[in-house]
Amino acid sequence: MTFVKTKIELNKLQKGDILNVKVAAGEPLENIPRSAAEQGFNVLSVAETEMPGIHCIRIEK
């Protein structure tokens, strides 16, 4: 469901807008960047946040 929510939010954005997706480590952290890239979105970065175990994925539409 995490990528489903990501895709719904991306659909609402304009081209060039950036979406920050915060996820815990695990399957979504691997799946979201891969699926977003496959869908033609630009994955700008995947980085750990200040919150332990939480990562931020930056995706450009």
Partner: protein, 159 residues
Amino acid sequence: MVNEKKLSIIAFSGDFDKLTAVFTLATGAAAVGYEVNLFFTFWGLDAIKIKQGRSPVGKGFLPKVFGVMMGGLKASPVSRLNFLGVSPKIFRYLMRKNSVATLEELVDAARQLKINFYACEMAMHVLGLQKTDFIPEVKDVLGVTSFLRLSEGGQTLFI
């Protein structure tokens, strides 16, 4: 030739857990670019009724009785250990607690992802239902041959 990016699901069951499977697969596939067709038939039609609770939907006495007994999405029972409707409430609580999308959230996601909803003409006829009894996202009322034509070339599941 198989179109790898098309998934069609025959949603036969009106059970909470099976509908959750239908909408989880459908939304996941749509999110990664699949064309997704959901064909609701018999008890599966409960998932797309406008009235989500127990309501005398349908034309005629017996269809109305069925309508009240079966209800809509919010009245869907789990397929095992339903405990007179207590189990779906427990499942919804557990889903929220564990940050898992509830059935209602999945249906909403399916609507936002513009998944194609279709209703089975024959089942509607038997249950006395009309297209106006369903949510507006239901694109069309189909028979078997039309659904087969629609699903041709992709993967088809029966749930």
